[in-house]
């Protein structure tokens, strides 16, 4: 979700009407935004729709709001002049970064507010819509410093040294990848190829090295810049065209003139940008039914016009035209949502559906509830802890070897939360270790999910509910835990036996496996003093852990 900074004054100027920050708070919702902060005239806007890059600039927001405020409705009028500028695409880039689309924009009058929007839009389009420059990289070049035609061509890593943005010396492409901060950040997008993409003019001047960095000489836009050359590169030409349309439409909002150019791809050529509207048909009946409202034809057309569509009714359908800076219209619901937004969500009458259904908890949930109530009845305090833990807590402190079936996170935020626990008892020990200064006796339990690798499962992991309880006091003994276990199991109607075993977490001779129908389903015992020491506990602990879900099935 892109976050923008816009100036309220700048927006007012573009709208042709003053809007206050307070008004914007409500208005911005119609442009799928939400105000996240205000600092003087600067408003921070969270743009929620990741598929509407046309709304990621003051220009785009102004275009949308003019419709909502009925200052200007229907398709925006963006005219394109033809130029004879040509761009030649090198077939050698087919496997590297095959496509570029371009435009020339003239007659810019750039102030600080405009400049910041150019930079911001270019950045957000490449970051979010362009998936961190992989799908779309945008370069904006000072047109007065280059001489067409322009060549999008392959360069060897050690050829064509140029001065990259904010540097003072010429570097070769391979030096840029290793030395320039942007080179380091984005080199994975070109590395592994013998050649890298480069945009040069007819005199051999480097414009930009997509998708890495512009040249310091040509690729720096300032408030002095009058005319620009826009460069968009990537893999999918339709995506690139949409991105180009988003950018030139924003320039058009500022009164600049857009010129199309001819791009020569291997074997064919195309004139871009092309802002010919696209059409989409929506069934009137579907709209009425889905919104649950009987809107007449005139309402439908007027509402769509507010959302910058041209629309007309054609029999049972509404045919809408929309500007091709949008590529998010894939389904009738995409148009329908715009209709609903224009109508106003809060103007609709909410209608609780009259559907007769029977509510039900999962049988397991009902059983777990009873199990928890039994533990509460036995005087145990319920706790809830995190599923994520660490090897240190789960195994080292418990004095056991790390098993092979541990589910482990590759990119944990901290080593403390890097492993999914296979059992709950270590979490109980951690809890007790945090409460050594509080009143004893402390008796606690938890019923939660734990996880271990199990190849037979669809997700390779078995996650199942377990029960663990622990009594910690100066007089805690095996007998105390056994009494609670007996009472719990009897009330669950589960017959079991306890079979003596050896386990490094427990005192020798005071630990047993809980066996149900011949299968070990849990463990009971007095925690070994060595383990108590590892947890910083001075009071003995008698504890039980059960694979509860298996027992309740």
């Amino acid at each position: 979700m892109p976050t923008l900074e816009i100036s309220c004054k700048d927006l007012s100027r573009l709208l042709g009407r003053t809007v206050t920050v307070e008004e914007l708070d409500d208005l911005i919702l119609y442009a799928k935004g939400e105000i996240d902060g205000v600092e003087g005239d600067t408003v921070k806007v969270d743009q929620k729709d990741t598929n509407r890059p046309d709304l990621w600039s003051t220009e785009g927001i102004a275009r949308q709001l003019r419709g909502i405020l009925s200052l200007e409705t229907g398709l925006p009028d963006i005219t394109i002049e033809e130029s004879d500028v040509e761009i030649f695409v090198d077939p050698a880039l087919a496997d590297v970064r095959p496509y570029c689309v371009n435009a020339v924009v003239k007659g810019l009058d750039i102030d600080e507010a405009f400049l910041s929007q150019i930079i911001q839009l270019q950045e957000k389009v490449a970051l979010t819509y362009g998936r961190k420059r992989r799908e779309v990289a945008v370069g904006i070049i000072d047109y007065d410093r280059i001489v067409p035609p322009i060549y999008y061509r392959a360069t060897g890593p050690e050829e064509n040294a140029f001065v990259p943005l904010s540097f003072s010396e010429a570097l070769t492409p391979s030096e840029i990848l290793s030395l320039h901060p942007k080179g380091q950040e984005y080199r994975h997008l070109v590395e592994g190829h013998d050649v890298y993409p480069l945009l040069v003019d007819s005199e051999g001047t480097v414009l930009t090295m997509p998708p890495i960095i512009n040249s310091e000489h040509t690729g720096k836009v300032t408030t002095e810049t009058k005319n620009v050359f826009v460069d968009v590169t990537g893999y999918d030409i339709e995506t690139l065209k949409t991105a180009l349309n988003v950018i030139v439409s924003a320039f058009a909002e500022r009164g600049a003139t857009i010129y199309s150019v001819t791009v020569h791809y291997p074997g064919r050529k195309e004139r871009v940008p092309d802002l010919t509207p696209r059409t989409f048909s929506v069934s009137k009946a579907y709209v009425q039914k889905t919104l649950g409202m009987a809107l007449d034809d005139r309402d439908l057309v007027a509402l769509l016009a507010k959302m910058r569509y041209d629309a007309f009714v054609d029999g049972d359908d509404i045919v809408v035209s929309y500007a091709p800076y949008r590529d998010d219209i894939m389904h009738e619901n995409d148009v329908l949502e715009d209709l609903a937004i224009a109508y106003g969500y809060n103007s609709m009458v909410p209608d609780v559906p009259d559907l007769s259904t029977t509510g039900r908890l999962l049988p397991l949930t009902s059983r777990l509830l009873i199990a928890r109530e039994l533990m509460v009845g036995l005087g145990y305090q319920e706790i809830v802890t995190f599923t994520l833990s660490s090897s240190e807590m789960l195994f080292e402190r418990m004095g056991v070897a790390r098993p092979d079936d541990v589910v482990e996170i590759e990119n944990p935020v901290s080593a403390s939360w890097s492993v999914l626990r296979p059992a709950l008892l270590p979490s109980l020990m951690a809890f007790l270790s945090k409460n050594t200064h509080n009143d004893y006796p402390q008796t606690v339990f938890e019923v939660s999910e734990a996880a271990r690798i199990d190849e037979s499962q669809e997700t390779g992991v078995e996650s199942a509910y377990r029960l663990a309880f622990a009594a910690c006091s100066a007089t805690a003994t095996f007998t105390e835990a056994r009494q609670a276990l007996d009472a719990f199991m009897a009330n669950c109607g589960i017959a079991f036996e306890v079979r003596g075993i050896e386990h490094p977490s427990f005192l020798e001779g005071r630990v047993g496996a809980i066996v149900v129908d011949g299968i070990e389903r849990g463990i009971i015992g007095e925690i070994h003093p060595r383990v108590l020491e590892a947890w910083g506990l001075e009071h003995p602990v008698a504890a039980v852990e059960l694979a509860l879900e298996r027992l309740l099935e």
Binding site: K48, T50, L127, R131, E238, L291, G292, M293, H331, N333, D334, E337, I341, Y345, N346, M348, V349, P350, D351, V352, P353, L355, S356, T357, T358, G359, R360, L361, L362, T365, L369, G377, L378, G379, Y380, Q381, E382, I383, V384, T387, V406, V407, E408, E410, N411, V413, S414, W417, L420, K434, N435, N438, D439, Q442, T443, A451, Q457, T459, G460, V461
Partner: protein, 498 residues
């Protein structure tokens, strides 16, 4: 004061009352009443009980007695200045050289100071010798016994109260460190007029019992014994009951509410394939939300299994035709701790839904956040779906409003446009909570048909998710979200469950 009142007294109280009634004055100190039968502590305890019931008053007095010191004992036999004066008189005159008197040097040294201070003598140096000449008051004083010695004599041999001795003499003796003062508080138990009228014969001392035992009940002896009175206002040691964890108790109550609203519970695995977490929800594989920094990945295990080929193929087609990229089944097989509860809804759609059908889940979810007072590393999401051919967008608004009223107790709601990759139209709701004001309460939308069709559902599906953590925090009275997973047993013990 009747017999009933008297016989409601404890045995200790009765015994003290009897002792006082048998004394001549009807008053005595606790010490005076103490005996082998009743130690001072018992008398003290009984006297408090008697006083609280109006049988006695306890009068407290402060008494200061004088004690003679070692220096005082010396002074009692010899007063230095008097010894010197008497030695001068023994020479026959009223004046003498100090060195011609038969007086110990140390004593005469002390005496000179006092002779001067009391103006008993005048001192002159004559050719290196000290001449001492007695004054009239000294000569007169010698004719009487020494009042200092009289006082010391009394202090040494009997108990002398501070006020019995002339203040100037006390001051003199104190400056000579001859006496010490000792202050004692004394209590006197004094029968009230009402108590004086009690007939000692009416006071019956019966066996007194602390614990009512089964034996006492069984053999009827409870009728003959007296039960010791307890001070019921005294605090006792705390008792901690077994309790549900407050946050889980809150979630339990929500589950009950959803069941009451006709929802069936769903469940899914903690570890999910990306297929169910993202792909089945129409989130393209190159979507920024699927980025490394926003989701967890696993070292082990790495990959799970995809569902049936038909479903996989349908999801693949849906992605490729809408998002225009090559869908990779290998990426879809990658495993991750589930990042939201919506994957449970996708699984439910695939498993099959009733029409009409309502489903909900409360699912533990994982996102790579740092644990602090506003972020948890794990959290619970409440999500659900409603499926029926008849559903409309206004139904969706109706359902959300119903949740806000039932769950948050809200009277007002506001809807905002929103964006989720899997719903269109999408909506966000704020609810006006009676105490918290406007709270962002939930998000919802109609599932995109690009999502539902590949999973085998043609009918409209409303999907919703509610943020209840703020409500839970309010209910639990906390402003630090970590308390939802509290590791503080004292807080858990104190948390009110109602």
């Amino acid at each position: 004061m009747n017999n009933g009142t008297v016989n409601a007294l404890t045995n200790e109280e009765k015994k003290v009352l009897l002792l006082l009634l048998s004394s001549e004055t009807g008053a005595a100190s606790p010490e005076a009443l103490a005996s082998g039968d009743m130690v001072a502590v018992a008398i003290h305890r009984a006297s408090l009980g008697l006083a609280s019931r109006g049988f006695i008053t306890i009068e407290e007095s402060v008494k200061t007695t004088l004690r003679i010191t070692n220096e005082g004992e010396e002074l009692r036999s010899v007063i230095p200045e008097r010894a010197v004066a008497e030695a001068i008189r023994a020479t026959g005159g009223t004046s003498a050289y100090l060195d011609e008197l038969a007086i110990d040097k140390r004593l005469s040294g002390i005496a000179l100071g006092w002779l001067k201070k009391r103006q008993w003598a005048e001192m002159e140096k004559e050719g290196g010798r000290m001449r001492v000449t007695l004054t009239e008051p000294a000569i007169e004083a010698l004719g009487r016994p020494s009042p200092l010695q009289d006082a010391l004599e009394r202090i040494a041999t009997e108990v002398v109260m501070l006020e019995e001795v002339d203040a100037s003499i006390v001051s003199d003796l104190k400056s000579r460190k001859a006496i010490e003062m000792r202050t004692e508080r004394t209590r006197t138990l004094v029968l009230t007029d009402a108590a004086r009228a009690v007939d000692p014969a009416s006071i019956i001392i019966r066996e007194e019992v602390t614990q009512l035992t089964p034996d006492l009940v069984r053999n009827g002896r409870w009728k003959d014994v007296q039960f010791k009175r307890f001070d019921v206002s005294v605090p006792v040691k705390p008792l901690y009951p077994g309790k549900k964890q407050p946050y889980l108790a809150f979630l339990d109550s929500l589950k009950a509410q959803f069941v009451a609203l006709g929802f069936q519970e769903m469940r899914g695995p903690l570890i999910e394939t990306e297929f169910w977490n993202f792909d089945a929800l129409f989130q393209p594989q190159n979507h920024p939300a699927r980025d490394w920094t926003d989701t967890y990945r696993l070292i082990s295990p790495k990959q799970g299994r995809l569902p049936d080929d038909g479903t996989v193929e349908a999801v693949k087609r849906s992605h490729e035709s809408s998002w225009k990229y090559v869908w990779d089944p290998e990426k879809a097989r990658n495993l991750m701790p589930r990042a939201h509860g919506t994957c449970l809804s996708a699984r439910q759609l695939h498993a099959g839904v009733s029409l009409p059908g309502k489903y909900f889940s409360i699912a533990r979810c994982f996102r790579p956040d740092v644990l602090d007072r506003t972020h948890l590393i794990e959290f619970n999401q409440i999500e659900g779906i409603i499926c029926d051919e008849s559903l409309t967008f206004r139904n969706l608004l109706g359902v959300l409003k119903q949740f806000a009223e039932e769950i948050a107790g809200a009277r007002q709601v506001r809807f905002y446009p929103d964006y989720y990759p899997f719903t269109e139209p999408s909506v966000q709701m704020s609810a006006k909570h009676p105490d918290l004001g406007w709270v962002e309460f939930g998000g919802a939308g109609i599932f995109r048909s690009e999502l539902t069709r590949p999973l085998g559902v043609e009918e409209p599906v409303i999907a919703w998710g509610l943020g209840v953590d703020r409500l839970a925090m309010f209910k639990l009275g906390i402003d630090d979200i970590r308390y939802l997973f509290s590791d503080d047993i004292t807080w858990l013990r104190r948390e009110v469950m109602m």
